[in-house]
């Protein structure tokens, strides 16, 4: 298996409703990534694109074919990846495998979504399609509802009074907005307070508006290259040293683990084992903070803190710059935004810029190893990537 590097990244500003189409948004990110790689679209041998809801938001299936053509990468193989919110992360995983195998030298991976365009009722309905249509949707499940169920279960299982847990969760959102306010590409570039969180309307008890990420529009892209090509293209290659992926059935079928997420623990272990690294080696992490409680669960599943203690760690500042494991310095899904098909590669974008030292006041000084964590559905698709500086 060959070593594989990321040689260029691009992303649009994440935002509310855009007039641009999926193909246009992805193309902006893709051209930036290709240009940064010192390549042209004709050098791209395949496109792996995450997109979940183009059919519903724009009446567009197979956007990957039109995107390849639109950017001038004529007639290349182009695949669409749908793993709910983890779609683009899975696209990177597969792109890695094909370059590592030797079949391709240069692959473009990315994702795009125009979720804000749909409006809340349709977006809520279509997002819920990532749950089990037979055994969960009849009860009216939504994505906030999945994590609201987990929040109450978490409070009960670890014996944390709900009011205390809610303050810990609110601190997660406050931190995300603090860093989002310093990211020019974030959907929300404003700080929020504890009062803002507690005064926001209830979405799914106990999750209030500011416990939830937004529906966003946006695109992101990364260029993967074999080690040999990467060394000629850039003096700052970022190597993908570990990949992990796992799946799971519907939420009640996960009962033996909940509120732990078995698919995440398996996925993370696969990535750590492949890299020969562990949680202590990670300098910076972009994790799947779709809801505030999701961050606490992820911090524990990834091995950064003991079960039931992540909320205290957040309150101590352990997840901010200078803490044990800085997370979501992009603003995370909460503040940077969550155009679901694009999120996985947007996380990779942030980690690559962190490892290159390009994040300004959000920079973790000297970061050498970073990790992404992307969750789709009610943990139906989990994907973790570990990235390492190649210089």
């Amino acid at each position: 298996m060959r070593k594989v590097a990321i040689v260029g990244v691009g992303m649009t500003k994440f935002s509310g409703k855009q007039d641009k189409t999926c193909v246009e948004l992805f193309a902006e990110a893709a051209m930036d990534a290709i240009n940064e790689s010192n390549l042209t679209p004709k050098d791209i041998q395949a496109l792996f694109l995450g997109n979940v809801l183009g059919d519903f938001s724009e009446g567009q299936s197979q956007p990957q074919a039109f995107a390849a053509d639109y950017i001038g990468a004529f007639n290349i193989p182009a695949n669409r990846y749908e793993g709910a919110c983890a779609s683009a992360a899975v696209a990177v995983c597969d792109a890695f495998m094909w370059v590592a195998s030797g079949l391709y030298d240069i692959v473009l991976a990315g994702g795009v979504e125009t979720a804000a365009k749909m409006g809340t009722p349709l977006a809520t309905r279509t997002f819920s399609m990532g749950s089990d249509s037979r055994y969960e949707y009849p009860a009216g499940i939504t994505f906030p509802a999945v994590f609201a169920l987990l929040a109450h279960l978490y409070a009960k299982r670890y014996g944390i009074p709900l009011e205390k847990l809610k303050r810990q969760m609110a601190q997660v959102s406050i931190d995300s907005h603090y860093y989002g306010a310093r990211n020019p590409k974030a959907h929300f570039q404003k700080e929020i307070t504890m009062d803002d969180v507690f005064n926001s309307f209830m979405v799914c008890q106990p999750l209030q508006l500011y416990d939830c990420c937004p529906f966003s529009d946006g695109g992101s892209a990364v260029v993967l290259a074999s080690e040999e090509r990467a060394r000629k293209l850039t003096d700052k290659p970022v190597y993908i040293v570990g990949i992990g992926q796992a799946s799971a059935g519907n939420l009640p079928s996960q009962k033996d683990y909940l509120p732990r997420i078995k698919s995440r623990e398996l996925s993370a272990k696969r990535a750590y084992d492949m890299a020969g690294l562990g949680p202590k080696d990670i300098d910076v992490c972009e994790l799947h903070d779709c809801f505030s409680i999701a961050t606490l669960i992820a911090l524990e599943s990834l091995g950064f803190f003991e079960y039931g203690t992540a909320g205290e760690a957040v309150e101590r500042g352990e997840t901010r710059i200078g803490g044990k494991i800085p997370i979501d310095l992009s603003g995370g899904l909460k503040a940077k935004g969550h155009p679901i098909g694009a999120t996985g590669t947007a996380q990779v974008y942030e980690i690559v810029e962190q490892l290159r030292g390009e994040c300004g006041e959000r920079q973790v000084e000297g970061a050498k190893i970073g990790m992404t964590d992307t969750l789709g559905g009610d943990a139906g698709t989990l994907c973790n990537l570990i990235l390492k500086r190649g210089w």
């Binding site: 037979r134 009216g140 499940i141 979405v203 079928s253």
Partner: protein, 136 residues
């Protein structure tokens, strides 16, 4: 390979207030809702078993922001219930004002009746789910 208990058969039985599961002849585990293989050992030698529909609430949420088409039901309570036979199922909770439900409901014993989602333009027809209420 044939399904011992399909989604449609499970749903139709549930409409008649019969909660059906599958008992694995290999390991004895009850799988509900049904799968083509045992939820624990993946064995495929399964018998249909009628379950009590009784259990204990493990967690809940009250939904205030509905998906398209569910506005008239909102607010509504979703629960995960551990059935007496072991598995967890997702259903709704009736008999309590939705916005009055608190953590105190966790651990409460419940019994079941059916409720039917009539389907929408995206779904493949209707689907039943358990509608739980607190045991008297």
């Amino acid at each position: 390979m044939e399904h011992k208990l399909s989604f449609r058969d499970y749903s139709e039985a549930l409409k008649q207030n019969k909660l059906l599961g599958l008992k694995c002849k290999q390991c004895g585990t009850i799988t509900v809702p049904p799968k083509i293989a045992c939820g624990r050992c993946a064995g495929t030698d399964l018998d249909i078993a009628e379950l009590s529909g009784k259990g204990e609430i493990q967690t809940f949420t009250t939904v205030f922001v509905p998906p398209e088409g569910r506005e008239a039901e909102t607010p509504y309570v979703i629960v995960l219930v551990e059935l007496d036979e072991g598995p967890w199922v997702m259903g709704n909770l009736a008999g309590i004002e939705p916005d009055k439900v608190t953590m105190d409901v966790i651990g409460e014993r419940v019994k079941m009746e059916p409720a039917v989602f009539p389907g929408d333009k995206y779904s493949a027809g209707d689907g039943a789910r358990p509608l739980f209420s607190l045991e008297a």
